[in-house]
């Protein structure tokens, strides 16, 4: 497999990170977004990140000069229809994603691989928006934030995805220094499923709104468990609302299996707008 021409749709945090990573692999990347301003901000931020890496001596100015040449922006209609891979990284809204994929199916060559960076929707469900001919070339590629640093890419095989394509992409990412993990199209895939208990169990241990206990649990899991962050400080960083939403969607997808049940404190926090760092109050205060 040789991926050279990539289209990334959505210039938010994930889309920008994914575009940056591919440009760093010297792939031609076209970054697409509905908002011109967002595209400008994204490119500025990627350029600034590269310039900082030059200052730190991690990249040469020659390398960064090349990377900048590999990254461009355009409208969806002007993207190269013969691209090798399209990665969708837009808002997590099923109907908006399906409408986009229907359009992508008509715009891009049938050999182009269409993929989604979704963390919450089944790949097979999204693939319903594309033609039968495209379905073997429709796959999930779930990157982790920040995409340039986090090595994992979940390679998700939908029911109609060609198994050879999964293997080829797995090998390609491995060759480029990522740590891919091949997984079935199952709720939460691997990480968002297995990691649920890193939050759910500490919530049940503390069981009520007690900052001192949140701190104790965070300390134990860092000091004794060796985790880089404790669950409560991590939920505050991710956003308690986002974490609750992922927990809730995995729980629903598993027919309300008790192992994934949200904790009452999560809902209370969301209802009282204690979202974490972004609202200056979560499990901890941030004044």
């Amino acid at each position: 497999m040789n991926l050279q021409r990539i289209v990334v749709i959505g210039a938010g945090t994930m889309g920008s990170g994914i575009a940056q990573w591919f440009a760093q692999q010297m792939c031609y990347v076209e970054l697409v977004d509905n908002s011109e301003d967002q595209l400008k901000r994204s490119v500025q931020s990627i350029h600034s990140s590269w310039d900082k890496l030059v200052e730190k001596g991690k990249l040469t100015s020659c390398q960064v000069g090349q990377m900048k040449q590999f990254l461009s922006t355009c409208t969806l209609e002007k993207a190269n229809p013969k691209s090798d891979l399209v990665i969708e990284a837009i808002i997590e809204d099923l109907e908006i994603k399906k409408t986009l994929f229907k359009k992508l199916d008509s715009l891009f060559d049938k050999k182009t691989i269409l993929s989604s960076n979704t963390s919450s929707f089944p790949i097979t469900l999204l693939s319903e928006a594309v033609s039968d001919e495209r379905k073997p070339n429709f796959i999930g590629l779930h990157f982790f934030n920040p995409a340039t640093i986090m090595l994992l890419v979940e390679v998700i095989k939908g029911l109609r995805t060609d198994a050879t394509l999964c293997e080829s992409l797995y090998q390609w990412f491995e060759l480029k220094g990522k740590k891919p993990a091949l997984c079935k199209d199952s709720p939460g895939f691997i990480v968002n499923r297995v990691a649920r208990n890193f939050y759910g169990e500490p919530l049940r241990i503390v069981d009520n709104d007690d900052e001192q206990k949140f701190k104790e649990v965070d300390t134990i899991l860092k000091e004794v468990g060796g985790f880089k962050m404790g669950p409560f400080e991590l939920m505050d960083l991710i956003g308690i609302d986002i974490n609750y939403s992922v927990t809730h969607s995995v729980w629903e997808a598993f027919n309300q299996e008790p192992r994934f049940a949200p904790h009452h404190l999560q809902k209370l926090m969301v209802d009282s707008k204690r979202f974490g760092r972004k609202s200056k109050k979560g499990f901890y205060p941030y004044d």
Binding site: M150, L151, I190, V194, N197, E223, V224, R259
Partner: protein, 178 residues
């Protein structure tokens, strides 16, 4: 199990059944006892045995030998002995069945087994995903290696204590133990 006796204190390390642990306490009613209760609920033991002055969870500790410790009564001899054995205790006021780290990690391991049982991914890919997607220091199956008995015992204890099906042990994990 290993017992250390120094003056009037007894320190009990290692895994044993709940009844065996209680038997040690019964036969040492005149001593101050400090006991590893990784897989059980310290509250149940504290309520029954006033000679139990502290509990700890050392069965899941890695090479760094950092362990969770709960003290009802501070005892220098006990702390010195832990230091002599190169343990690094981290004290907590929270008394919970399975403490904090063991209870959290067995749930992560159990879910990884459920995912494996459903063929979501291979063991290697699940380990890899957790290490490189969310920076876990080890993959769930690395953590479980050789400790399946402890994981199953603690999950069964949590289920018994709470009657909450979230602690139901995955049959694949139970099979690995047996």
């Amino acid at each position: 199990m290993t017992n250390y006796e120094i003056d009037n204190i007894l320190i009990n390390f290692g895994f044993a059944s709940k009844e065996e642990k209680k038997e040690i306490l019964r036969s040492n009613s005149q001593k101050k006892v400090f006991m590893d209760l990784t897989c059980y609920d310290p509250n149940e033991f504290y309520n029954e045995f006033p000679q139990l002055k502290g509990t700890f969870a050392a069965l899941f500790c890695d090479d760094r030998k950092k362990i969770e410790l709960h003290l009802k009564e501070k005892n220098e001899l006990f702390l010195q002995q832990l230091t002599r054995l190169e343990f690094h205790p981290v004290e907590t006021s929270i008394v919970s069945c399975g403490f904090i780290f063991p209870r959290t990690i067995v749930q992560i391991i159990n879910e990884a087994y459920f995912a494996l049982e459903e063929k979501v991914a291979s063991k290697e890919d699940i380990n890899r995903a957790m290490k490189f997607g969310v920076n876990y220091p080890l993959g769930p199956f690395d953590w479980a290696q050789g400790k399946e008995k402890l994981v199953v015992t603690l999950l069964d204890e949590l289920l018994l204590k709470t009657n909450d099906q979230r602690y139901r042990c995955c049959s694949l994990l139970r099979n690995d133990f047996f």
